[in-house]
Symmetry: C2
Subunit: 270 residues, 2 copies
């Protein structure tokens, strides 16, 4: 991996100017991108555009705001931080000179194919309303139709993040599926854990240090090495007694499927 | 919740002496307990007992070590940090005067019923070989057959942890099932995420900040509020394209079951 201070210095010379940016969208991703970018010397956020005037208030004291997306200022990069299902539609309505990129993990780059300079600038994180995260730790996955545009995106990304990766649309789709397993599904399992705790008047927050450590362990072990529990041990007695404790049919079904998958996975290796 | 510095001061007066402890077992839990307890003024680890002489070397410079479990020094508390399936068997062989407790999330307290003073001292965390964790953040779930013994365990626990909870055997079993969902199963899903990344030559560590944030979010949102993703949105197009990308039959089966569970859960609320 490149050392990004070097990369920044290199591209800074290469581009020889401050990169101008317009953000399209006003939601959590737009807010987090704005907070990270607007304090950087290498870039300037010229404007934020959005249809929701209330949401635009968040930005209006610090940059120009536009509700009319058809009259945006000229910029080097247009970052679309809008919902997946309107990316294509909105992009078709825009007439721009610069590089148009979206920030979605799930939408292929060619959704923007009306335009000649396109790319993707995907921050691999889940953003929450009102919560501004430290962008330095958020990987940014970039892709572009040309090498020059790709370098421009790498440069912009490297000003705000320590981890910038070139990920093509096919890889990004796989990354998105992987994120469904490691984020959406794990969160759903946290919800089941909480329901079980509530049934037995246990404070769910007791489990948080364990949940944090489950992730932190992966700094030193692979998930395969870190796997523990009754299914991993093939401990039928405990598996049976857990199934008896679960009152919700759906929870039992998930418990069985995942336990069997773990048993089958490790069984092969015994 | 009690302020534990007050609790410690209170029980310190109540017990009016240093609490002596013998640890039975030499594994990850025993090592972590030893590291946390041996530096506390309120307690003294008199000895560690184990059958594995190599493993006892870890402790031998800092406390007495025993391989013969039938001749242990007299102590206030005997902490059994041994495998679940031998707790009952070992406890039957011991002849002791003090309070005998095990440290398991899965074994009921009455596994120790040969003895008159028994309890449970369950640190709710997953310990890894060679990794010493900060015990202050690890919840300790205590239970005992008498109020006096329970207070003694609360006192000992409060010297090393900020979170001490009285959890009965039935609640502890529910907590253990909840931990299977939030630790064992999520770790298995991390493994699937890693496999998908590897198939597409993507560095799995790109997903770690997302995995950490999935847990951290729960400081401000419930899992239900935090749920996102294609299943939550009822986005059939993405669900379908994800299923097409998954090559492993087992992964598809898990993807379908969890997505349908999320759809059903949130469908009810729409």
């Amino acid at each position: 991996m490149l050392i990004f201070s070097q990369l920044t210095a290199y591209y800074s010379l290469y581009f020889r100017k401050m990169i101008s940016i317009v953000i399209l969208g006003t939601g959590n991703v737009a807010q987090n991108l704005f907070e990270a970018l607007h304090k950087k010397d290498e870039v300037k956020v010229l404007a934020v555009a959005g249809r929701n005037t209330d949401a635009l208030n968040y930005f209006s004291n610090r940059t120009e705001v536009f509700t009319d997306w058809t009259h945006l200022p000229k910029a080097d990069v247009y970052l679309m931080a809008i919902k997946d299902d309107v990316i294509h539609e909105v992009s078709e309505k825009l007439t721009l000179d610069g590089l148009l990129v979206h920030t979605s993990g799930a939408v292929p780059m060619d959704a923007l194919s009306k335009h000649s300079h396109t790319g993707v600038f995907y921050p691999l994180q889940s953003f929450t309303s009102g919560k501004i995260l430290d962008f330095k730790t958020i990987p940014i996955c970039v892709e572009a139709t040309s090498e020059k545009d790709l370098n421009l995106l790498k440069y912009v990304a490297s000003t705000i993040s320590n981890t910038v990766e070139h990920i093509d649309s096919n890889q990004r789709k796989a990354l998105h599926v992987s994120a469904v397993f490691t984020n959406n599904f794990t969160n759903y399992l946290y919800g089941i854990g909480k329901q079980i705790c509530e049934e037995y008047t246990i404070d769910f927050s007791l489990l948080k240090p364990l949940m944090k450590e489950t992730v932190d362990k992966l700094d030193v072990l692979t998930p395969e090495q870190a796997q523990t529990g009754p299914a991993r041990r093939g401990d039928r007695k405990t598996l049976h007694s857990h199934l008896q404790l679960l009152n919700d049919k759906k929870h039992r079904e998930i418990y069985k499927l995942l336990s069997n998958a773990i048993k089958a996975h490790y069984g092969k290796k015994l």
